[in-house]
């Protein structure tokens, strides 16, 4: 929670779309799956395959989003492995 507040809340909220999409229900949701959020074309395309956000995929995303999905909009990278683990664990609690 503390790491999420410090590192993610600049752009994201749990229940509201802001700079980035809301995070409630994010784990298990289809990539690009928040209906009322304007995703990049890259995220929309990636989500068309039906692929969903898993813990492993979110960890890769936080490590280097562009390496995972080229052309996406999030430049932010979370360098600390422990912080990535903490954030993904917190995201998994959001329903």
């Amino acid at each position: 929670m503390a790491v999420y507040e410090a590192k993610c809340s600049g752009c994201h909220s749990v229940d509201s779309n802001r700079i980035g999409p809301r995070h409630a229900g994010g784990v298990g949701r289809r990539i690009g799956g928040v209906q009322d959020f304007a995703y990049s074309a890259a995220l929309q395309k990636s989500g068309q395959s039906g692929k969903v956000w898993t813990r492993a995929l979110l960890t890769s995303w936080l490590t280097d989003p562009e390496a995972l999905i080229a052309g996406q909009s999030m430049g932010f990278r979370l360098g600390s492995e422990q912080e990535r683990s903490d954030v993904v664990a917190y995201l998994a609690t959001l329903r």
Binding site: K7, S9, I19, E66
Partner: protein
């Protein structure tokens, strides 16, 4: 949340902010602010990678942050919950964010991109749950949270920039936000980080 009496350091920040506003007035237009912000680097675009659209995309996310910050301070200033000199500080910080916004818009346009549009104040109010703000401490707490988020967002995007010039700009933006966060944290009576390297990572 208990808000402590403002320290002499904050009073000093008000005076410094006034000096900054005076400087901004004397230097003229917003474009001049943008150029000053970018260090007068007219050749910025020439330093871009083969695919500047990626850097433009990152800059547009930053611009979205600045739009939100401007509107957050507007919500705070218009709430009637802030007393002087805190209100003056909030307006001053909003001015800094407007300077950031204008610099980012100028840079995005220079690089051939389309700056992301600002949403309505009502949309920001809803997204930030402004209806829950009941007192000055709530407003300052929200501002501190957003500033902390912005610091880490700017520091977190530095490795993603293809352009070192833009990475430097992100660092300068983070420095401004850190100044805001530090003063807000002081006003809220909260402790500063005990360890080194508490930002970014």
């Amino acid at each position: 949340m208990q808000v402590q009496t403002l320290s002499s350091g904050i009073q000093s920040a008000v005076q410094n902010s006034s000096s900054r506003r005076a400087w901004l007035r004397t230097t003229g237009s917003l474009s001049a602010v943008a150029i000053a912000m970018l260090g007068g680097k007219e050749a910025l675009a020439q330093g871009m990678s083969a695919d500047p659209s990626k850097d433009v995309g990152i800059l547009n996310v930053a611009l979205g942050l600045e739009h939100e910050a401007i509107n957050a301070y507007q919500l705070g200033a218009g709430s009637g919950l802030l007393q002087k000199p805190v209100l003056d500080i909030a307006v001053s910080f909003q001015g800094h964010h407007k300077g950031h916004r204008d610099a980012l818009i100028a840079t995005i346009k220079k690089l051939g991109g389309n700056p992301v549009m600002e949403k309505t104040l009502d949309e920001y109010a809803k997204a930030l749950n402004a209806g829950a703000l009941k007192n000055q401490g709530d407003v300052l707490s929200l501002a501190a949270k957003l500033e902390m988020g912005a610091i880490n967002a700017y520091l977190g995007v530095i490795p993603a920039f293809a352009s070192k010039d833009l990475a430097q700009i992100a660092g300068r933006l983070a420095a401004d936000e850190t100044m805001h966060w530090t003063i807000l944290t002081n006003a809220l009576g909260r402790s500063l980080p005990t360890g080194a390297l508490s930002f970014g990572g």
